[in-house]
């Protein structure tokens, strides 16, 4: 990373939420500081939040059931919200969704704020809803999420299995914003994490300026569908 391009860095503690309007022409790098982190994330076109991350369109346009470098995140309007320009993890889970209060209480037991202060047990769904509300959005705006750093394998019979040790200490993934993207994320444990202990891991965030994608951008050329997705995104700004 060219350090002069870095605008700022910060660390999101485990089990915490964060949101930001990632401007077109900047990129967000997420780094798993300790290994075994999870980051649940949702995405909106900040200028018109009715346009949001569309999981099925992202999967079927690129014939994928995982996310990694070279793939992009599509909105429901046929446009690219973010491109995954760098990735040392290799597999990010788009299938298993996010934890909720009942799941966290069942797996880890109760841990209220009154008893535990800021070590209380958080869940991804509630953190999404709280963070959405800060931007004037609500439950109707909460659709499918991505889980960065986590992997869920699908067997031939369709069964799901959490994949251990998917993300190593220092592993990172970088998202380049192709429009002004409201990114809402949290660092709650993956909902299928088999660890019986509540131990959400911290994630470092780094925002930097990046050049606009060129004609030969790897994410643009990875699929003929993405060439059209980038064209439609460019037209949006014309």
């Amino acid at each position: 990373m060219n350090d002069t391009s870095v605008l700022w860095e910060e660390t999101v503690q485990g089990g915490a939420a964060w949101s930001h309007v990632l401007k077109r022409g900047t990129a967000l790098r997420l780094t798993d500081l300790e290994g075994g982190a999870n980051t649940a994330a949702i995405f909106f076109n900040f200028d018109c939040p009715a346009e949001r991350f569309n999981l099925p369109d992202t999967l079927k346009a690129q014939h994928i059931a995982r996310l990694t470098q070279g793939f992009v995140l599509y909105s429901d309007m046929g446009r690219v919200l973010c491109s995954i320009t760098e990735d040392t993890v290799g597999w990010h889970d788009p299938l298993a969704g996010c934890s909720n209060a009942a799941l966290v209480a069942e797996k880890y037991g109760e841990a209220t704020y009154q008893h535990c202060r800021n070590d209380w047990h958080q869940n991804a769904r509630e953190l999404f809803l709280i963070e959405l509300a800060k931007w004037g959005l609500g439950p109707r705006d909460l659709a499918a999420n991505v889980n960065f750093f986590s992997r869920v394998d699908v067997a031939d019979d369709g069964s799901l299995a959490h994949h251990a040790d998917n993300s190593k200490p220092g592993a990172y993934v970088e998202l380049r914003a192709e429009m002004n993207v409201l990114v809402i994320l949290n660092t709650c444990q993956h909902p299928l994490d088999p660890n019986p202990k509540y131990v959400p891991k911290p994630v470092q965030l780094s925002v930097r300026r990046v050049p606009a994608p060129v004609r030969t951008d790897p994410c643009r050329l990875s699929r003929p569908e993405n060439e059209r997705g980038f064209t439609l995104t460019e037209r949006y700004f014309l």
Binding site: A50, N54, L55, P56, D57, L59, K60, A61, H63, I64, A65, R66, Y74, D76, M77, G78, R79, W91, L95, A96, G97, C98, N100, A102, R125, G138, P139, R140, D141, L142, A143, A144, N145, D153, V154, A155, D156, D157, G158, S159, L160, A161, P191, L192, E225, R228, G229, T231, L232
Partner: protein
């Protein structure tokens, strides 16, 4: 849970309290009361039936594909699948299935995704999301695009490979195959009988499907 779990139902059409044939390319929206049974019949085989469900008393409490597949730890829907909302509400349970496998990853076709997937010149072609939007804006409850989320594709076969690829396989449905669900609360069903002409999921020939509703057994 097995990914293929066939189960037949016994009640006949003559006992149904509601029956309707949804033409290819049309939306259908209907309330199903707690305890009622909804059957969807693939009349001509391999027709994609794009379907969403909502808690009738709080439409923000709605079907969630991710929560449904995570809870049963399987990506395919079949007999025994509980259709869940993001808040964990059980909307319906699949109680009968003569097809054996239904998709909930592929979503609905849209003018915009058709432009990406096939050609920018495809914008004019009819698509499921237009049917969904027509239904939710016409029925006057104040719903809009935010209420359209990742749907079920009844009778569609969309396997995931161990390498993480999403594939669109030939259908395993046939004329007369059906899926039947019991409503666990009052729900609103929203169907787009898929008009897709750009891929072979329905042999490039969208066809009508039948929806039937039965009351629950007498208490």
């Amino acid at each position: 849970m097995s990914s293929v779990n066939l189960a037949q139902r016994t009640r006949g059409e003559q006992d149904a309290v509601y029956s309707f044939v949804i033409p290819a390319g049309d939306p259908w929206m209907h309330e199903i009361k707690k305890g009622q049974y909804l059957r969807i019949v693939d009349l001509y085989g391999n027709q994609a039936v794009d379907t969403l469900f909502y808690n009738a008393h709080d439409p923000s409490d709605r079907y969630s594909a991710q929560d449904t597949i995570r809870a049963q730890r399987n990506i395919y829907l079949t007999t025994g699948t509980r259709l869940l909302t993001g808040a964990g509400t059980v909307l319906l349970t699949i109680v009968g299935d003569t097809c054996g496998r239904h998709d909930t990853l592929g979503g609905a076709c849209a003018s915009e995704s058709n432009m990406v997937r096939y050609s920018i010149e495809k914008r004019h072609m009819h698509a499921c999301r237009n049917s969904f939007l027509k239904a939710v804006t016409e029925h006057g409850r104040g719903w809009d695009k935010r209420d359209i989320t990742s749907n079920i594709n009844f009778f569609m076969n969309v396997p995931v490979t161990p390498e993480g690829k999403l594939t669109f396989e030939d259908g395993i449905s046939e004329p007369g195959k059906y899926v039947e669900m019991r409503a666990e609360i009052d729900v609103v069903a929203l169907i787009s009988n898929c008009p897709q002409l750009n891929n072979p999921c329905n042999a490039y020939n969208p066809t009508p499907v039948q929806v039937l509703i039965w009351d629950g057994p007498a208490e």
